[in-house]
Amino acid sequence: MANVIEARDLVKTYGEVTALDGLDLDVPEGTVVGLLGPNGAGKTTTVRILTTLLKPDSGTATVAGFDVLRQPDRVRSVIGLTGQYAAVDEYLTGRENLRMFGDLYHLTPEYVRTRTTELLERFDLADAADRSLRTYSGGMRRRLDLAASLIAKPSILFLDEPTTGLDPRSRLGLWEVITDLVAEGTTVLLTTQYLEEADQLAEEIVVIDHGRVIAQGTSDTLKDAVGGNRIEVVVVDPAQVSTAVQALTAVANGEVIADAEERRVSAPVSGGSTALVEAVRGLDAAGVGIADIVLRRPTLDDVFLTLTGHVAEEDAA
């Protein structure tokens, strides 16, 4: 599969701050790639460079085969962008907003009219279509924002934290829309701070921190990279946390993490249920009272903590 987005060694600094520090990115055609990172990781900066809004200090990037620096107009004609904050006109109605963006894409007036109606229905905004946006809720605004970036049926869509600030129901709705778009063949680069969202939507996840890629792969390979399963124990008596750590270290194949406040101990293990049985025996033998014990597959949260925790150590060194 050809890559429709390719970035090589992107560097961008703002005075003292290094927003991007040699970022590489590949997005194959027809896939969703999730760019995952904490606040300040460089997600928005990456999206701005790829959508021609910002020039990198160095490095190259192409979108649909067009160089973002040398052919910005060609790039703009094939992309749709939904930025981190809803970028729609407050005073216009939903329909007027879509019409304006459609006109600016130089679509025919007839097409703009039918497409606008179609999008308003699809995003559940038909009833509010002719109201000024000042009467819209945050979720409605966000949906209109996404609709606006779809008006010209772009083949490549950039979504910068599309569901931040939405309630769970609106978030699920937006996920559905994005899934549908991908089924129709749209390529999507999505940034998010929500691991669950990357897990749900993206085939490939690129984890970035401090402007660098620190891990990359499907959500399964990332989880495997962190280690296999984990055993999580909640002890009855906070005083016994350290005893529990000792007992679990015997079963674990890596560092055992303890959270004294939550009375929680978490240990990476290689086996499945056998490890669980061993852990229960060990804790019992040490006289630790168990409030709760589970065996679970690592979540992306674990991936993320492991990876960024590691990077933070490197930075300090």
Binding site: M100, L104, T108, Y111, S155
Partner: protein, 288 residues
Amino acid sequence: MSATDSLVSVPMRSRPIFGWALHDGFVVARRNLIQTVRVPELLFFSLVQPVIFVLLFAFVFGGAIPIPGADPTAEPDTSVYRQYLMPGIFGQTVAFAAAASTVGLAEDMHRGLIDRFRSLPMASGAVLFGRTFADAARQILVLTVLSITGFLVGWRINDGVISAIGAFALLLLFAYTVAWIGAWIGLYMPNPETANTAGLVWLFPLTFLSNAFVPITAMPDWLQPIAQWNPISSLVLAARDLFGNPTGIIGDAWPQQNPILYTLISCAVLIAIFAPLAIRRYRRTTAR
């Protein structure tokens, strides 16, 4: 690659004869003018200030500011000052159109709209052409309301309709010119609150260091050249001329002798400087 084909599947307009820049500028101007209608409070307050100025100057200061050149032996006549005053208020009001462009662009930037516009395949000056055009066009309404107010306090058009239309056209051209300066400033604003102040500060010295309210001959000597070469002075003087209102004593400086020509040249030069500066800034700017 299908990625590049996809836009072919949506029907595109053929290029209008006057070009995309004008088409896109018109789309943006339409949007800005819809805003004016949707937020009548804003329009209302932009009208209130000049109307208050008219009433203040006409009734409070009217007799106190002597107009040199008016017959000194005659009884002090407040209506002479009102005739003299109105073109000054017109000039000051259109100059303040710049502040609307500053604030409007700062808001668009703050809301991320400029980012979105910049990600579209549209002509890159269009957002600014649309904004400045709409802000100048709004002045038609403002000038209408002002003229009616002026008429009620005794201001008259004494030199025929044709030259009065010329005066209004010159005022609108000036509004369009300063809107570009305002737009350029707006693109440097970190937030709309700062734009509210920065959009106005430079306009007060600019409008008061002119013949808008006080004859230049009444100013200290060192200020007089500044006021004489201030384009607002020539604009106001040209308007007084064209409306057939009293002009006071006209200085020897070239702009005072050739007010219409100097105003036209000033507008051309200022647009030639600030439009490219603003467009260049626009191409590089992003929100936050």
